[in-house]
């Protein structure tokens, strides 16, 4: 392997987004004719790195050589001309165009007025789909295809591009075992033709089955590159998480009371299956796992955004039927979503309207909004949570991420919820505000609220939670009490090992 010709030599690749360094000084060599795994926790920088190779992002610093020559991958078009194809984690497709067009769109050659060779395009598309063992009509539009089939179209596109470097960013997540087998067979065939494949996956057994070498990223840095055969699994996991547990959180000491929320056999096919747990007053229960394990789907189901198909929910000991978010709010549930910009804030509206958005009845007892009540509620929230702002009239987008998040938490606290669901509450907010958040969460539990905390940050789960449930592939794979919880245990349970897609 040492003497294998190098296809790619990346040196000192760094990338900053808005002042935050997400990749620092990555050196990586890729050989011709190898399948190279890229692994690491969520946010380790894997996707950013491959997007740099594919010209989607330009690096802040660093250089890339291809076959010994320095190259500038400044755009996806440039990458394509160099023979680099990226299969995106989320299928990137044109929903209104046919499957065949999606496979060939953007293929180089031909001016704008050159003819579209329909017959060849359709024949080629059929050939690649047959190769992948997928029987769909290539002339049908892309929209309406299952995620798995969309993924197969993405893969067909990469095959059709005849590239020397094919990057697969978590390609197997939506696929069935048989589709995974086909994909692996094709990947091996491509390798034997001398092409290079980068394979990103959270499934270690897939890495072991398919890949020749692996590279581990952590917190934007290159940690190790080794042959897959020479490194044991627990060593991989240790290198992936490897950091010290941060000690900035206090242990919370609320007394745990009666059951607030009881869930049994909750199932939404394709998202999660057979989810059962109880959550008590004053308890902070963590929900850990990798992105895509189905944690957010469970939260959304509990809040009635996309209700589960079967299973039972009891709130405060009584059977609850939650079909829409207002049902959940009436029952005393509150949900601070993960995607703050998309689902949380009303960006252009003033902070005070954002804070009072969930309590229309309280600020308008007579049906007309009382400015005094509105002002009073929002003023008190701002003081209680020490939200930093210039004015209550300020559009909320002007606040920092942490203060936006506090305003949303304030909104839900005003509903006086019994059960508070927090989905990645500290994502993208700076460390000082984070610490305030942890204090707040502890205070809320002490005040007798039941808290379900979804988090991908292990230190957060380990130090805040009384209990941690871990999900993988839509199922609960472990329930770990506080005194037994450690990083290895959570990680072991979070890494999918079945190869069976949820």
């Amino acid at each position: 392997m040492v003497d294998a010709p190098k296809l790619i030599e990346a040196r000192g690749i760094s990338k900053q987004f808005g002042g935050v360094e997400v990749l620092s000084d990555i050196d990586l060599d890729l050989h011709a004719g190898e399948i190279h795994a890229l692994i690491g926790e969520n946010g380790a920088g894997k996707s950013t790195f491959v997007k740099i190779l594919a010209g989607v992002h330009t690096p802040t610093r660093g250089s890339i050589k291809m076959n010994g020559d320095a190259v500038n991958v400044t755009s996806p078009i440039a990458a394509q001309e160099l023979g680099i194809a990226l299969i995106h984690q989320e299928p990137v497709s044109f929903p209104d165009l046919s499957v065949a067009e999606n496979i060939v769109m953007g293929r180089k050659g031909g001016g704008l007025l050159s003819r579209v060779p329909w017959a060849t395009i359709i024949a080629d598309a059929r050939r690649y789909m047959d190769m992948l063992g997928v029987s769909i009509d290539v002339t049908r539009p892309m929209h309406g295809l299952s995620i798995a089939n969309q993924q197969m179209v993405e893969i067909a596109r990469a095959l059709a591009s005849d590239s020397r470097l094919i990057i697969m960013d978590e390609p197997t997540a939506p696929l069935t075992p048989r589709e995974v087998d086909t994909l692996f067979a094709i990947a091996r065939q491509l390798r034997d033709e001398g092409r290079t494949i980068i394979f990103i996956s959270h499934r270690l057994e897939e890495v072991r089955m398919l890949c020749d070498r692996l590279t581990i990223f952590r917190d934007g840095s290159h940690i190790a590159t080794q042959t897959v055969a020479s490194i044991p699994e627990d060593e991989i996991i240790r290198l992936m998480i490897g950091r010290e547990l941060k000690k900035y959180m206090r242990k919370h000491t609320a007394s745990i009371g009666e059951t607030a929320l009881e869930v049994s056999g909750l199932t939404l096919p394709g998202a999660f299956e057979d989810i059962s747990f109880t959550l008590r007053k004053g308890e902070i229960m963590g929900l850990g796992g990798l992105v895509g394990a189905g944690r957010t789907d469970v939260a959304r189901a509990l809040f009635g955004i996309e209700p589960a198909k079967s299973g039972k929910i009891k709130v405060g000991g009584r059977d609850a039927k939650i079909q829409r978010p207002p049902d959940a709010i009436d029952l005393g549930l509150a949900f601070v979503p993960e995607d703050r910009a998309g689902h949380g804030i009303f960006g252009t509206l003033p902070v005070e309207h954002n804070i009072t958005a969930a309590i229309p009845g309280k600020i308008a007892p007579s049906g007309v909004i009382s400015r005094a009540l509105e002002r009073g509620f929002s003023r008190k929230s701002v003081d209680d949570l020490s939200i930093r702002l210039a004015s209550l009239n300020q559009p909320i987008v002007e606040l920092s991420g942490g203060n936006q998040q506090k305003a949303i938490l304030a909104r839900w606290l005003l509903t006086e919820p019994e059960v508070l669901i927090l989905d990645e509450p500290t994502r993208g907010i700076d460390i000082g505000v984070k610490a305030e958040f942890y204090d707040m969460i502890g205070d809320l539990a002490e005040a007798g609220r039941a808290i379900l905390l979804i988090s991908s940050e292990l230190p957060e789960l380990l130090s805040l939670c009384d209990r941690i449930l871990v999900m993988a592939e839509g199922r609960i794979t472990a329930e770990i009490p506080r005194d037994e919880a450690n990083q290895e245990k959570v990680m072991q349970a979070a890494v999918p090992r079945s190869g069976i897609a949820a």
Binding site: V56, S75, P76, I77, Q80, H88, V92, S93, F94, P95, D96, L97, E101, M105, G106, R107, K108, G110, G111, L112, L113, S114, R115, V116, W118, R140, G144
Partner: protein, 328 residues
């Protein structure tokens, strides 16, 4: 089964049915509506809208909109009209390349504002709608180009015919429709416009030169508006700085949307657009025949557009439901 379903639920079939039902309904009341003579009237009402609609279809498919087409039409017509008035000895056919080039320049200006400054096309073209109209007043000194200044050969294009008694102006409109069909369906440009409109975020990732495609689309919109401008001079025999092309964007966008082009981009066919134009033409031809006074025609015209859209929407939703029940 698939074939039957495809034909039944094709948007085009729905519009065709609407046209037929509308004509029968009007025909029952006024039988002369169903004669060749009134078909000729309908067709003569449509060529300018048809040409504008072809351009607008490409613009909407690319997830943009061009509101300035009426003003580009007016400006181009005025440039050509001034040329005819000031240089009566020039060969009249020169007016065509001049009008098309003038429109293309205005269209490219729209396109540059949209691509370089990343401004929304609805705002850019709302601005140039007013700007180009204002320029038309300035270059014409707010005076009309009169009938006597327009070459008679040009005016005759709206009446005389090379084949089957179909006037030149109608043949040109259908020629443009055919050209647009070829662009949309059989060129890289066409497919890239659809791709861009279908998913603007994905387009650059897939190696589409978004700036170039967008510029070409706006240039085409301008060029075809310019062509419509000189044909306006042919059809009506005058160019007026305030009337010529006013409200054109409303008729064109209505026709295109009735024809099934999605304002969300990525969806639309030339056939549907042609039918949308014809449906509007039928309505425009029927209103005076039914003795509807001019004062209420606008309201009825607008209502028909809304009704057509509502019917179409409900048909399409049922179609989509039945397809998904079929388990695609």
């Amino acid at each position: 089964m698939n074939l039957v379903r495809n034909i039944l639920f094709r948007r085009e079939a729905g519009i065709l049915v609407m046209i037929v039902l509308f004509c029968i309904a009007v025909g029952l009341y006024k039988p002369q509506f169903l004669t060749g003579q009134s078909l000729r009237i309908i067709l003569l009402l449509t060529p300018l809208i048809m040409i504008g609609a072809m351009a607008q279809m490409l613009v909407l498919v690319g997830r943009h909109v061009d509101l300035s087409i009426g003003s580009m039409l007016g400006f181009s017509a005025m440039v050509v009209g001034l040329m005819y008035r000031e240089f009566p000895d020039l060969w009249w056919v020169i007016g065509f390349p001049i009008a098309i080039a003038t429109g293309a320049v205005l269209g490219i200006f729209n396109g540059l504002l949209v691509t370089i400054f990343k401004l929304p096309s609805i705002i850019v073209t709302l601005g140039t709608l007013s700007l180009y109209r204002g320029l038309t007043f300035i270059i014409s000194d707010a005076r009309q180009i009169n009938r006597s200044d327009i070459p008679s050969e040009l005016k005759l294009m709206s009446r005389t015919s090379p084949v089957f008694d179909i006037p030149w102006i109608i043949l040109i409109a259908f020629g443009i429709a055919l050209m647009t069909y070829v662009i949309a369906r059989h060129t890289q440009l066409g497919r890239q416009i659809y791709a861009l409109g279908s998913n603007p975020e994905a387009a650059p990732l897939r190696g589409i030169d978004v700036t170039k495609v967008t510029l070409v689309v706006f240039a085409l919109s301008g060029a075809l508006s310019g062509l419509a401008g000189i044909l306006y001079a042919s059809r009506w025999g005058f160019v007026n700085p305030s009337n010529t092309g006013a409200g054109f964007e409303f008729q064109v966008i209505a026709a295109v949307v009735i024809g099934g082009v999605s304002i969300n981009g990525g969806v639309g066919t030339v056939m549907g657009t042609v039918l949308g134009v014809l449906l509007l033409g039928c309505v425009a031809a029927a209103l005076p025949l039914l003795g509807i006074p001019g004062s209420t025609q606008n309201a009825i015209y607008g209502s028909v557009i809304l009704i057509a859209l509502l019917i179409d929407r409900s048909v399409r939703q049922r179609g989509a439901a039945s397809i998904s029940r079929g388990g695609a």
